[in-house]
């Protein structure tokens, strides 16, 4: 798959546009500023996700849920530097990277092979933030019941053996999915489908929360969820528009469709709620916004604003439907990762095959609705299917493996007491102490 026009076009057209006075290996300060701030924005998304999730759980699990995101910044933050980046982007293999950049050996402030306009380290850290948030996304599935030690081990393995390979397939030099020519601007497959389907594996393996259905499990603090949504939306500009790897017209275009799809999906989620339940909720508006951001992610650099309105509008119906379906199927994906990230990501990847247009990005392709026929749509489908299949199976294997060493679930008593006290010996709130 082709990430941004940047990567492919790096040796060609773009440089000309940069002005003749710029030497080939020069760093562009504007592009670098944009990629660095984008990396910072994407970093902020992970604690933002923590807030988004933590607001939805019961108060006794608020810190445990925040930790599911926060510790990913720490754990994957270190692992990515030590080996993850090299496995994802090193070498030229079809299936996985190499160990050539282990410990970032040779990755410096000079431009690297993936972008000649920014420091290699900037590209590395921008990518690292994607590697951090992806496993954190999964954690919504097993909220309120996973043992902390098992969680850490699962995530370390998943990041290494699922994320890095898929990332290499799609964006790494020589990666087989990238070679196919399907499009994934900012991580529809790499980030959302991979995590969304891993969430299904987790929900199935961990089982349902105790008393689900009988006890009330209403979100304990939706204001926290709204704050998280705001930070996610804000950070997503870095996620999508930063994926242009340059501060150019393509970045602006990705920025605009990102905002538009999120806005459209927030509205349509409110609409579907009103149709179903006669009221539109704050949680619904937030959920819609996130679903819209997920859906536009693979398409961001390839579609125009009116297409973004449609992509966003449709995703809420699909994700909302998937949530209702979950109720019927009976698995406990506590915070609806499957419905939002897998369903939303798959829709976005396929929608790219419908709405992509060379008028938006001449490094992309035309989708079905813009005269491109079914070719791109087919390639998009292969991307979705391959990513989902691999991530589902590999996640199940890793969970089985972890279970050999540590039980996946907390004890019943600890689940009753909550993760905060049982796993961390803390309480989120002591609002009434003297």
């Amino acid at each position: 798959m082709v990430k941004a026009g940047r990567i492919l076009a790096a040796g060609g057209l773009f440089l000309l546009a940069m002005g003749a006075a710029r030497a080939e290996q020069d760093i562009d300060t504007g592009d670098t500023a944009w990629v660095l701030i984008s990396a910072a924005l994407v970093m902020l998304m992970t604690p933002g996700l923590g807030l988004f999730y933590a607001g939805m759980v019961r108060a006794k699990n608020v810190l445990g849920t925040l930790m599911h995101s926060f510790t990913m910044v720490a754990l994957v933050g270190v692992a990515w530097v030590l080996w993850g980046y090299s496995l994802a982007f090193g070498g030229d293999g079809a299936l996985i990277g190499s160990l050539e950049w282990i410990g970032l050996r040779g990755v410096t402030g000079d431009p690297g092979p993936y972008a000649d306009n920014i420091p290699h380290l900037a590209f590395m850290t921008f990518q690292g933030m994607f590697a951090i948030i992806t496993p954190a996304l999964i954690s919504g599935a097993f909220a309120e019941r996973m043992r902390f030690g098992a969680f850490l081990l699962f995530m370390l393995l998943w990041s290494t053996f699922v994320y890095s390979p898929i990332c290499h397939w799609v964006w790494g030099s020589g990666g087989w999915l990238g070679g196919l020519g399907a499009l994934d601007f900012a991580g529809g497959t790499v980030v959302h489908i991979s995590s969304g389907i891993a969430a299904l594996a987790c929900a199935l393996m961990l089982g349902r929360r105790k008393h689900l259905g009988s006890e009330e499990m209403a979100p304990h603090n939706l204001t926290m969820t709204i704050i998280g949504t705001a930070l996610l939306w804000f950070g997503w500009f870095g996620f999508n528009a930063g994926s242009a790897l340059a501060a150019d017209g393509l970045a602006a275009s990705a920025f605009v469709v990102t905002n538009t799809a999120a806005a459209s999906a927030a509205l349509s989620w409110m609409l579907v709620e009103t149709l179903h339940r006669r009221r539109s909720t704050a949680l619904g508006a937030a959920s819609g916004a996130v679903a819209g951001l997920v859906a536009i992610t693979p398409a961001a650099g390839f579609v125009g604003p009116v297409s973004a309105v449609v992509i966003g509008f449709v995703v809420s119906f699909l994700s909302y439907g998937a949530i209702l379906l979950k109720g019927r199927l009976g698995y406990d994906d506590a915070l609806d990762v499957v419905a939002v990230h897998f369903v939303g990501g798959a829709w976005g990847a396929l929608a790219t095959g419908l709405f992509a247009s060379l008028a938006i990005n001449d490094g992309g392709a035309n989708g079905l609705f813009f005269g491109g026929g079914l070719a791109l749509l087919g390639r998009q489908f292969v991307g979705v299917a391959a990513t989902a299949a691999f991530s589902l199976i590999a996640s199940l294997i890793i969970l089985l493996l972890v279970r050999v060493f540590i039980p996946l679930r907390v004890t019943d008593e600890d689940e009753t007491i909550g993760l905060d006290l049982s796993q961390h010996g803390e309480m989120g709130y002591n609002l009434e102490a003297v």
């Binding site: 939805m56 009330e216 209403a218 979100p219 709620e273 179903h276 339940r277 009221r279 909720t281 949680l283 619904g284 959920s287 909302y320 949530i323 209702l324 109720g327 609806d336």
Partner: protein, 113 residues
Amino acid sequence: MIKIEAIIRPNKLDDVKAALDALGVQGMTVSHVMGSGKQRGRTQHYRGQEYVVNLLDKIKLETVVSDAEADSVVKAITKAAATGEIGDGKVFLSRIDNAVRIRTGEEGDGAIR
């Protein structure tokens, strides 16, 4: 002495306090409670799932008064707290054997005024 315990609607607290004030009753203890009874809760929706909350926010107001005052206090509360709609709440009366004012050690009726 009589303990008067009233379960009322949260938004009636100010009116009840004013009514008690008018009777010269200032001492009272108030807490947030949740009540269930005939009144139906509003349904809530979270991601399409329905929660019927059948514990509703209420205020519990407790005041210990002398036997002589009890009747008028109950009347005042009942009047101030009523809306006529289901969910207005209850007043319960029970006997208190003694009261002590912590500050002074005074006991009995002297402790509660």
